[in-house]
């Protein structure tokens, strides 16, 4: 990979406070409250008051989703952000599906079937949900769903994605940034690199890769 001239960096000064705020944003975005508090006491900064709002509740919601306890997460979301799920069908469908998947994982097929017929069938009028429903229902056709072609639906990564989506939605509902500052910085760096590539031509500025950047 072509390295940028490090001398270009020397003229750019970055405030220590800015760096600390980026780290803090990341920690609070992901509900790492205790870590954030320790970080603050080490740096001598004070916690901005708006960061503390709802973080404990968000953390509980996040944890329940990661555990697969989607119904509990839905209840807490209703308390924290009324009408959020009513206005976000995609998210609501994903959470209900997560509950169905947990019932399948627990081998509670009767409950899974009843839940599917009662709660998931109403989504059957929209094509994009129908495709997902087919994937979910096919899990029932396997004694060991973990070994079926749809095994990815039972993976931690799948639950992580749903948890991230819900977290962003809750933050947006409270007029907080849906993405942490760190994510935004990386996104912007990537886009800037793309524009440079278009302007100056290929091979001059390779696409930004955080992994490659960290390996330098």
């Amino acid at each position: 990979m072509m390295d940028l001239d490090p001398r270009l960096y020397e003229n750019v000064s970055v405030s220590d406070n800015d760096v600390r705020n980026i780290v803090l944003s990341y920690l609070m975005h992901n509900c790492f409250k205790e870590t954030a508090e320790t970080f603050l006491s080490s740096t001598g900064l004070e916690l901005p008051v708006d960061y503390t709002v709802d973080v404990d509740k968000r953390k509980a919601i996040f944890s329940f989703v990661l555990e697969g306890n989607a119904l509990k997460a839905i209840d807490l979301t209703e308390e924290l952000a009324p009408n959020l799920l009513e206005n976000d069908m995609d998210l609501h469908f994903d959470l209900l599906s997560l509950h169905f998947i947990e019932l399948v994982r627990s081998r509670k097929c009767t409950e899974a079937l009843e839940f599917g017929q009662k709660k998931l069938t109403p989504f059957g009028k929209v094509p994009k949900y129908v495709e997902k429903l087919e994937d979910f229902m096919a899990l029932l056709a396997y004694e060991e769903p973990e070994k079926s072609p749809m095994f990815h639906l039972l993976s931690p990564e799948y639950r992580q994605n749903v948890a991230d989506s819900l977290n962003r939605a809750v933050l947006a509902h409270a007029n907080r940034p849906a993405y942490s500052s760190l994510e935004r910085v990386i996104q912007q760096a990537t886009v800037v690199r793309q524009y440079l590539q278009q302007e100056v031509g290929k091979d001059s500025y390779p696409p930004f890769s955080l992994k490659a950047f960290l390996n330098k």
Binding site: C109, L133, A138, L140, Y142, S148, P149
Partner: protein, 406 residues
Amino acid sequence: MEMAIDTPSPSPSASSAAAGRQTRAAESVRLEHQLLRVPLEALKSTVRTNHRLAEKEIAAVLSSAAAAPGGGGGGSGDAAAVDHLTSLVSRLHGLKRKMEEGARAEELQVQRCRARLNRLASASSGDDAEWEELRLKRILVDYMLRMSYYDTAANLAETSGIQDLVDVDVFLDAKRVIDSLQNKEIAPALAWCAENRSRLKKSKSKLEFFLRLQEFVELVKAKNFMHAIAYARKYLSPWGATHMKELQRVTATLVFRSSTNCAPYKVLFEQNQWDSLVDQFKQEFCKLYGMTLEPLLNIYMQAGLTALKTPFCFDGNCPKEDPLSLPGFRKLAEPLPFSKQHHSKLVCYITKELMDTENPPLVFPNGYVYSTKALDEMAKKNGGKVTCPRTGDICNYTDLVKAYIS
């Protein structure tokens, strides 16, 4: 200019008749593939079944004999051994009887194969009309069997004495399965799949999978959901690797259920799903026995009508001799392509004979064309004058102009 179909010469020479038979023999071997293939497949199936039965029974008897109670002790041991051996002998007698029945079945099928070989051998000798008549009968029986007119087919075969040349009993085997599918039963169809498993697998048949899907849907329809799930785990999931899309769609009926209005799933609960299973079975059945997927009658009719169909026939001046002058044949020919005519064939309006280099066409001053023979004869009778039969125009024979055909 008229365009019509060439007809055979009314009096063929002996050598041309012999050549015609050779051609017929060669064509028959190609067209009558089914004639030979079906009894051979039936024979192979019978041999396979008999062989399997013999192997199974002999293995059982041998292992049973090895486990016979050892003699050497007192009288009671000997008596038990005798009883055991007696039962084994009885079992072998049963096997012998089955083998004899199997041998008779094989003999019948060999006889049928032989009859058909003789039939093809006679294609290059023997009476033409009789040969064609018999072929027509065979084609009609084939059609009736495929349309499920079994009794009529059997009667025609019997009164024509062609039982060995048609496949009534093969189609009766299929009938059992078709009847059961029409009664919404898949067991006989599954048994048929099991009997032919290796060959169906070789041809990548999906029939068994679709039978299982239908059974699953029937369980969902009956609201027997837990049984449906157990059924899916046992019979559907093994097909998941190759037929995931179908499996997923059908499994989703568990939530949509039979009352759904969701179009892709509503169709799965309809009666005509069973009709399509019947069609699928028929296709697999015909494929397995090497039969054409269409009735022979359809194939011959379409081939013939395609050859006869020309734009001229549909312009309304079709000669009465042409089958396409009849509305029924026109209707049958409608979806068929027009025949490709490289060379014109002209038939005289007056004599109906072919106009060729020996009987060239002559053109009237008004443009109408008739054959030389017809006009020659007319001129002789009328002092050198000829009259156009269409328009009534009269002119001298010497005014006619010869036309040339490409």
